[in-house]
Amino acid sequence: MAAPAASPARKPVGTLYRGREGMWSWVAHRVTGFAIFFFLLVHVLDTSLVRISPEAYNDVIGTYKNPIMGLGEAGLVAAIVFHAFNGLRIILVDFWAKGPRYQRVMLWVVVGLFAVTMAGFLPRHLMHVFGGE
């Protein structure tokens, strides 16, 4: 009998999550959560400048209004929106009896809601950032 282990091309398959939507949504949830946390630290520090002087706060918050930071804000909002909707999906997987069965469908619902929310947010935000008024 030829040992089946001799075929090196076989990858581990057949687990519920590995390498599939379940795993990648978990990775994305980690990455977005980690990024949001570090923004939060910076954001509390920059807001604290209101306690120093109006000039100090306005100077630093002014940097948030340049186009590069404007794109960064769009990315931050995208991370928050994904983390929020996927968090609701996690809650449904944990507490809804049929949650685990529909976890993959629910990820595509998350992606759909994400697309709709960003379609509402992005034009308005980019208009504020790049608009000349």
Binding site: L16, G33, L40, V50, R51, P54, A84, R124, H128, V129
Partner: protein, 152 residues
Amino acid sequence: MSLVADPKAPRPPRARPSRLTTRGNTELYGWVFMRASGVVLIVLIFGHLFVNLVAGEGVKAIDFGFVAGKWASPFWQVWDLLMLWLAMIHGTNGVRTIVNDYAEKDTTRLVLKGLLYLAFVVVVVLGTLVIFTFDPCPSGSPADLLPSFCTE
């Protein structure tokens, strides 16, 4: 025959850990807190983003006068205080989980979590003090930088 173990097959018994990694139900309460605070944070942060980035002039309108105008109302003070505390506990617990997962050496884990808890205390104490000791009309500042109610 598949090369891969049947995912539904019972796992072989694991060796018992040589020491307990948690005591009591703390991790369970943390797990519940992540879900409960997550739902509240969706409301608080989506509201925050809408008022600050979407409504009116968006990010262009944010300056000292804008912040002072918001914090003149106890409603936004409580909103921001709740958001600060819940987001910091939620985020710190999330990063703690990530550190526990990837930092395998005891010293690395200890140092990273020490820094994390230090950042938590500094940011939460600073943010709370700023919300409650904030003066919307500091004397000696040019009136055009202040909210309109300072000159009334």
